[in-house]
């Protein structure tokens, strides 16, 4: 029995495409962590936390096989942390036209995402690094500093974890780490302290 060569060719091509599509799958991860209410004394003063559209919808591909939808989780994390850090906080999604006297504006930006799998590091864990920067604006909407902060998260091991679940767990841990870093270090940013001390009003953040 002779088969139709055109049909046979199409079948082979379809099989190759199917195999190629299977090999090139992208793991899509959406972190779900919700930070607990932090144990922190809010500093007096007021600030605007700018979480713009880009930040709220942030999606990153740290490598060809991974996509992390960080937008919702990191927006919620930053809002939780700054609500605990600053007494009067306004969360905005657009740059305001002006700020009140002594008010500051904080704009977090995601700079880099890296993922490492056991196959790359020969360690028994999945790891995620997040690098953020905080742009700090004074009440004249001038940038006074940009402060960079890294965060790190890993899984306890890779036993019985799918790649997607492992990266999600490591990202959740990294988001908790960024919260811890901010809660401990935010009020120690030198340029922020310097700007505060130069202000005549006692209403500025942290005084």
């Amino acid at each position: 029995m002779r088969g139709n060569p055109f049909k046979l060719g199409s079948l082979v091509l379809l099989s190759v495409l199917l195999v190629a599509a299977g090999c090139a799958s992208v793991t899509s991860v959406t972190p779900t962590t919700a930070l607990p209410t932090p144990v922190a004394e809010p500093h007096p003063g007021s600030a605007v936390l700018l979480l713009d559209e880009q930040f709220r919808g942030e999606q990153r591909n740290p490598n060809a096989a991974t996509q992390i939808d960080l937008g919702a989780a990191h927006s919620a994390a930053f809002a939780t942390v700054f609500n605990a850090l600053i007494e009067q906080l306004i969360v905005a999604d657009e740059l305001p036209e002006s700020l009140a006297n002594g008010e500051i504006l904080i704009r977090p930006r995601l700079r880099e995402v890296q993922v490492a799998a056991p196959s790359e590091t020969y360690l028994n864990v999945y790891e995620v690094w997040l690098k953020y920067s905080l742009q700090l604006y004074n009440d004249q909407l001038e940038v006074i500093d940009e402060w960079f902060m890294p965060a790190y998260g890993k899984t306890p091991d890779n036993f019985m974890l799918s790649r997607g679940n492992a990266i999600q767990r490591a990202t959740d841990t990294a988001l908790r780490d960024i919260g811890a870093k901010l809660l401990i270090d935010f009020h120690r940013i030198p340029s922020l302290a310097q700007w505060r001390s130069s202000q005549p009003s006692a209403a500025v953040v942290g005084q």
Partner: protein, 219 residues
């Protein structure tokens, strides 16, 4: 069953049990020979150390010790509940590693208020991991039209090393340390079907540590 067959079966069972045995050593240090006093209203929390780069104390092990320690006299606060209640102060980045740092942390009235709300009196830090060595031996499996099977022999060593440190949050002192070292060899025998004989080093380490800590609190 003939006597010979019974003897063979008995030998196999003994070999199996011997293969599954682990050697566990428990060392302890106490600041006093007296049992640690704890009121019925006070609680204990067990936390795993997770700040090392290449390993972290796994939560299942911490839960296992908690289950061994929990009794009518000792109430154990779940690990995650404490970590969340005092966020971010027990996150790996900032958790106190020394008594000096703990005293500094307890000087924070907000932290102290949360600890008092949980009626937390003792904190037990657990640090360690279970490691498996590279397997030795060889095993090959094959399948054909007439059936399949595995033939050969493989073995690997496992060791669980953990240390627990008990901190008294009221007196802000260390009350004792327990170190457990459990080692054993697991086997996989291929006799048509693969027969595993796993050594429960981790559960032995948990039992050793849990019982010793229970002894601290109950005398």
């Amino acid at each position: 069953m003939t006597i010979r067959a019974r003897t063979l079966a008995l030998n196999c069972a003994l070999l199996w049990l011997a293969g599954c045995g682990a050697t566990t050593t428990v060392d302890e240090y106490r600041s006093s020979n007296q049992p640690i006093a704890i009121d019925a209203s006070e609680t204990v929390a067990i936390l795993g150390r997770r700040d090392a780069g290449h390993y972290e104390t796994d939560r299942e092990f911490v839960d296992c010790i908690g289950a061994k320690l929990a009794s009518s006299t000792v109430q154990v606060v779940p690990e995650q509940k404490l970590i969340d209640a005092i966020y971010p102060w027990f996150e790996p980045r900032v958790a106190p590693k020394t008594l000096g740092r703990l005293r500094q942390l307890l000087d924070n009235p907000l932290v102290l208020a949360r600890i008092n709300a949980l009626q937390l009196r003792y904190l037990i830090w657990v640090d360690g991991s279970t490691e498996s060595a590279q397997p030795s031996g060889s095993m090959s499996c094959a399948i054909g039209p007439g059936g399949g099977g595995c033939f050969g022999f493989a073995q690997w060593d496992k060791s669980s090393i953990y240390e627990a440190i008990v901190w008294d949050l009221r007196d802000r002192t260390e009350r004792g340390r327990v170190r457990v070292d459990s080692q054993g060899t697991s086997y996989l025998i291929g006799a048509v079907a693969p027969i595993p004989m796993f050594t429960p080093v981790k559960s032995d380490a948990c039992a050793g540590l849990g019982e010793q800590l229970s002894d601290y609190f109950e005398g």
